[in-house]
């Protein structure tokens, strides 16, 4: 672990204390996990504590962990993952916050702390259906007007449910159920550890 990462994880532990659920350093990056209830206060400290100084929110996205890996997964399904950057300190941080309820996932909005979260939260709402209470204008952003469903959820098929075509009789564009089936050329495979390792044979 480099000196910067060590200093960062030390400062995080110092300033956040038990609000941290876990802290992990891997591949030269620090990831922390926080609970929904502590989320806003942690984010506020991350921006305002001089020892942390994350003045810029680089990215915020939703992740659906429902089909992660081999086995069926325990625990909450949706998470909001935030990437922060400190320009003064030149370090980055990833914050993950799992939404408590799978049927109505919700994570507090950080738009008041970083204005740049605005569209990112709208996107996560649109694509994953994660609600962000506190967001002033939580509309869909990327999908079509009147779209139904949250397309990036793992149970949403890649081909979608409806397709659009011009109907010459009605002389307008109409929606109809999809006529194509999803096709998988290369199946998804998760190999066991050390698969194909010569020394292991």
């Amino acid at each position: 672990m480099s000196a910067t990462l060590e200093a960062l994880s030390q400062n995080l532990q110092e300033h956040l204390g038990d609000r941290l659920k876990s802290i992990k350093v891997a591949l030269g990056e620090v990831t922390i996990e926080v609970g929904v209830t502590d989320y806003l206060s942690v984010m506020q400290s991350l921006r305002d504590e001089p020892g942390l100084g994350f003045e810029e929110l680089i990215d915020l996205c939703g992740v659906d962990y429902s089909s992660y890996g081999h086995e069926t997964r325990e625990g909450p399904r949706f998470a909001a993952v935030t990437h922060l950057l400190s320009i003064a300190r030149n370090w980055r941080l990833r914050v993950r916050c799992f939404a408590a309820d799978d049927s109505f996932p919700s994570v507090p909005s950080v738009t008041a702390i970083w204005n740049s979260a605005d569209w990112f939260e709208r996107e996560a709402f649109d694509l994953y259906g994660i609600a962000f209470p506190g967001h002033e204008d939580l509309r869909r952003i990327l999908t079509d007007y009147g779209f139904i469903g949250h397309p990036f959820r793992k149970d949403f098929p890649i081909s979608g449910y409806v397709e659009m075509r011009y109907d010459p009789e009605q002389q307008r564009v109409i929606y109809q159920p999809v006529t194509i089936e999803p096709r998988e050329v290369t199946p998804r495979i998760v190999r066991e550890e050390n698969y194909g390792d010569v020394d292991n044979a």
Partner: protein
Amino acid sequence: MPELRNFTLNFGPQHPAAHGVLRMVLELDGEVVVRADPHIGLLHRATEKLAETRTWIQSVPYMDRLDYMSMMCNEHAYCMAIERLLQIDVPIRAQYIRVMFDEITRILNHLLWVGCHGLDVGAMTMVLYAFREREDLVDAYEAVSGARMHAAYYRPGGVYRDLPDRMSQYQESKWKSAAQIRPFNEARSGSLLDFLDDFVSRFPKLLDEYETLLTDNRIWKQRLVDVGIVTPERALQRGFSGPMLRGSGIAWDLRKKQPYEVYDRVDFDIPVGVTGDSYDRYLVRMEEMRQSNRIVKQCIDWLRQNPGPVMSDNHKVAPPDREAMKSNMEELIHHFKLCTEGIHVPAGEVYSAVEHPKGEFGVYLVSDGANKPYRLKIRAPGYVHLSAMNEMANGHMLADVVTIIGSQDVVFGEIDR
């Protein structure tokens, strides 16, 4: 007294100055913008979802189609993320090639930007000059990858192949005689590096030409100066990066601050603006082209002297060469596994960012150990910049909206993804 109401105007999605498919609902008080509400997503192709159903390598060409004005930089972020998850090293020559093409891409992007931005605010000639130079650079793209735009040249582990020894040449036709095409082919008689060397020696002069057309031009200044001012504090709040952040006076450049590949070995400067208006962003981008030109020159000199491999020799990631494949059983198996199943990336997550011509282009990858990504998130700089549209356009005239869109340098491929 009749009741006065604000006028609502639909700007785009078919407006020539909307840079693609931006639909903006503008609320106007007279000619002054009160509220700008960009509606995006008309070009949404769900690249991130598609990538979840494709193997790691198959998604590389999708990256070209994100920001279709700076193709190789997008690939770079994606390949770098995979390499970091796999923890493999890229041969040094491939790193130099990547840096060289990143900077060529930056020049390509900024040339298109200055051309279109000029066109938007009434400087018609710029686009003609800009495309003249772009032609040479897309030829360089074509020489290495076979495609003028969507190159798919970077691969996890290096680049697809080494730089070619010869450039394609103009052919005699019934419209152009041999004598007429000879001057066109002069720079193309040698290798790609000779061709680029000729370009970088010509380019600073050409940039001076552009600057004579624009920098002190009265009309240009009237349209750009003090339009869309962003203070450094607001720029950070709004998550700006790249020229938009530097235009506001913050000297932040990933190539310097968090160097990747061989950016710590090349010499260049970061231009910084003062007032944070559109004119400063213009000046920053013009200077960036000069700096990119310097970097390309340094890469050419290094590449001339240092031959070597351009692809990792880890055959779990990069395919073996054809000759070895046909004489060696193990290489054949590697090739077969790579082409049918693809590479397996260890479980984990990584965020890798490059200094894209438009700002910080980041790729957040989550892998569960499969031959396909579990989750890919593309952090597009234009998306963030456009989200500040309301703030930047507020209080400006309708015509300034065009200037602001231009100076944000938005491309819808990356915003809608």
